[in-house]
């Protein structure tokens, strides 16, 4: 008998093959698909977050775990009615105008998906105007903006200002991250949050949507 702990451990180990196999076994054993995802696969990702914070696990570990989780989800997801999948909320994420550095942003995407968020990854070099347009289109709960340059981080400010002008600021939380960005800068531009790394970003989003981090 496979258990939810086993599949969680397969995620922690970053073992995609095992995660896939265990997901199938758990399905065959009749476990509810939602439990397999929420407790098994995401449970594993949560443990990865804890170990990352403790400097026991590192970026490649996180990526392997995300892959293992995805392999399990792939098996289980078709068995779930679309409406039954509960997401914690929708996060729209991009690097800001003029900024092409997306490694950090992509890690945040992985951690958010692992935490149970629906993520709209808008890519790199996204202008304030485009963000506003997309907010109208997708109605996300949170916007995450990333910048690696001191010159481009100013577009975070102009995006928040544009959201304000367009009357959208109260509908959405805005969080920021990236090497030159800090909590001070987040406060200065009236963002709702700042995170120094991908794991903390997932915790931050959970707090902002009212789910326990």
């Amino acid at each position: 008998m496979a258990t939810l702990e086993d599949i969680a451990q397969a995620v922690v180990d970053g073992n995609a093959k095992k995660s896939k196999k265990l997901a199938q076994q758990l399905v065959d054993e009749g476990l509810p698909p939602l439990d397999i995802i929420n407790q098994g696969l995401m449970g594993g990702m949560q443990e990865v977050g804890v170990q990352f914070k403790a400097n026991v696990m590192f970026v490649p570990d996180v990526m392997a775990a995300a892959e293992a989780m995805a392999a399990g989800v792939e098996i289980v997801k078709p068995l779930i009615e679309a409406g039954d999948i509960q997401t914690l909320g929708t996060v729209y994420i991009c690097t800001v105008k003029g900024d092409l550095h997306d490694i950090g942003k992509n890690l945040v995407v992985m951690m958010l998906e692992g935490a149970g968020f629906e993520v709209i990854n808008a890519g790199v070099d996204v202008s304030p105007e485009k963000i506003v347009e997309d907010v109208r289109k997708y109605n996300p709960d949170i916007i995450g903006m990333s910048a690696l340059l001191t010159t481009t981080m100013l577009h975070m400010k102009s995006t928040i200002e544009l959201l304000q002008e367009e009357g959208l600021r109260d509908d959405v939380k805005v969080i920021i991250g990236g090497a030159p960005v800090s909590q001070d800068f987040a406060d200065e531009i009236a963002a709702d949050g700042y995170s120094p790394d991908a794991v903390a970003a997932a915790d931050l989003c959970k707090r902002l949507v009212g789910a326990a981090a």
Partner: protein
């Protein structure tokens, strides 16, 4: 090896603090130390918001030139700032950087045409930093077309094929070396450099990765690095590699550096 000393950069938190507090002594100290450690150029990047950049750059340039004759590497995301700072430099140096982004080539290349100024060229464009060697090489070709158009000598171009982080891409160095070789095959006179500490981002014990990356890339033709020359480990790796490659007769470079206490000293 062409060493571009990277310490005076506002993207380094400690340096940014010194820039914001206008800490003259700290900047003088890291300028002098990098020069003493054998930096070919001393990179100067303010890393502050654009409206404060000119003043910060001028302050940094003047301080560095107070303590050393080592040429500067003028570094800004804004090509106009770079060009505007050139007259302030006492000696011909290096510019950091051009790429196929926006008008960077058009602003910077005419300013160095026919001079001995060098320029770092990044293999990225407005669509981003490509992952594959082929696309990076295509961008390098476009940059070289611009260089020829404006009349910049190939020898004055230092290509940085933009290494990705090993933590997120395990083909990172292999791909870097392949790109570098494609560039060198097509344009034998250009130099290859790397802001190499990026490779170890997000991993523990970074210096192990940085040192081996430096050695392996040097062996494959890299002849410059944007690095911290005050790091004994990195300098030792560099001198040792040059000696191991048979490019250091009687190990003179390695031994002189050792005698000058550039490495092997307990601090």
């Amino acid at each position: 090896m062409i060493i571009i000393g990277e310490k005076i950069n506002g993207f380094i938190p400690k340096t940014l603090e010194a820039i914001q507090n206008r800490d003259d002594d700290y900047i003088r100290e890291i300028a002098k130390k990098q020069a003493d450690a054998g930096a070919t150029y001393i990179d100067v990047c303010a890393g502050v918001e654009p409206d404060q950049e000119y003043e910060a750059m001028e302050w940094l340039i003047d301080l560095v030139q107070e303590v050393t004759d080592t040429p500067l590497c003028l570094d800004s995301p804004d090509p106009q700032v770079i060009v505007d700072m050139m007259p302030r430099a006492n000696t011909v140096g290096c510019l950091n950087s051009i790429s196929m982004e926006k008008n960077k080539c058009e602003v910077i290349l005419p300013a160095i045409a026919g001079t001995d100024w060098k320029v770092v060229a990044l293999t990225c464009d407005d669509t981003g930093i490509p992952d594959d060697p082929e696309t990076k090489f295509k961008i390098a070709q476009q940059i070289m077309e611009k260089a020829d158009e404006f009349g910049v000598a190939h020898d004055n171009i230092l290509f940085d094929p933009l290494v990705t982080t090993l933590g997120t891409n395990q083909e990172s160095m292999v791909s870097f070396i392949k790109t570098m070789q494609m560039i060198k095959d097509a344009f034998p006179e250009v130099h290859i450099t790397s802001g190499l500490s990026n490779i170890s981002y997000g991993l523990p014990y970074r210096k192990a990765i940085n040192m081996q990356f430096l050695s392996l890339c040097m062996y494959n033709g890299m002849d410059s690095a944007i690095m911290d020359p005050m790091s004994q480990d990195m300098l030792a790796a560099m001198y040792a590699t040059e000696a191991l490659m048979g490019e250091d007769p009687f190990c003179k470079g390695y031994l002189t550096a050792f005698r000058n206490k550039l490495f092997g000293v307990k601090r």
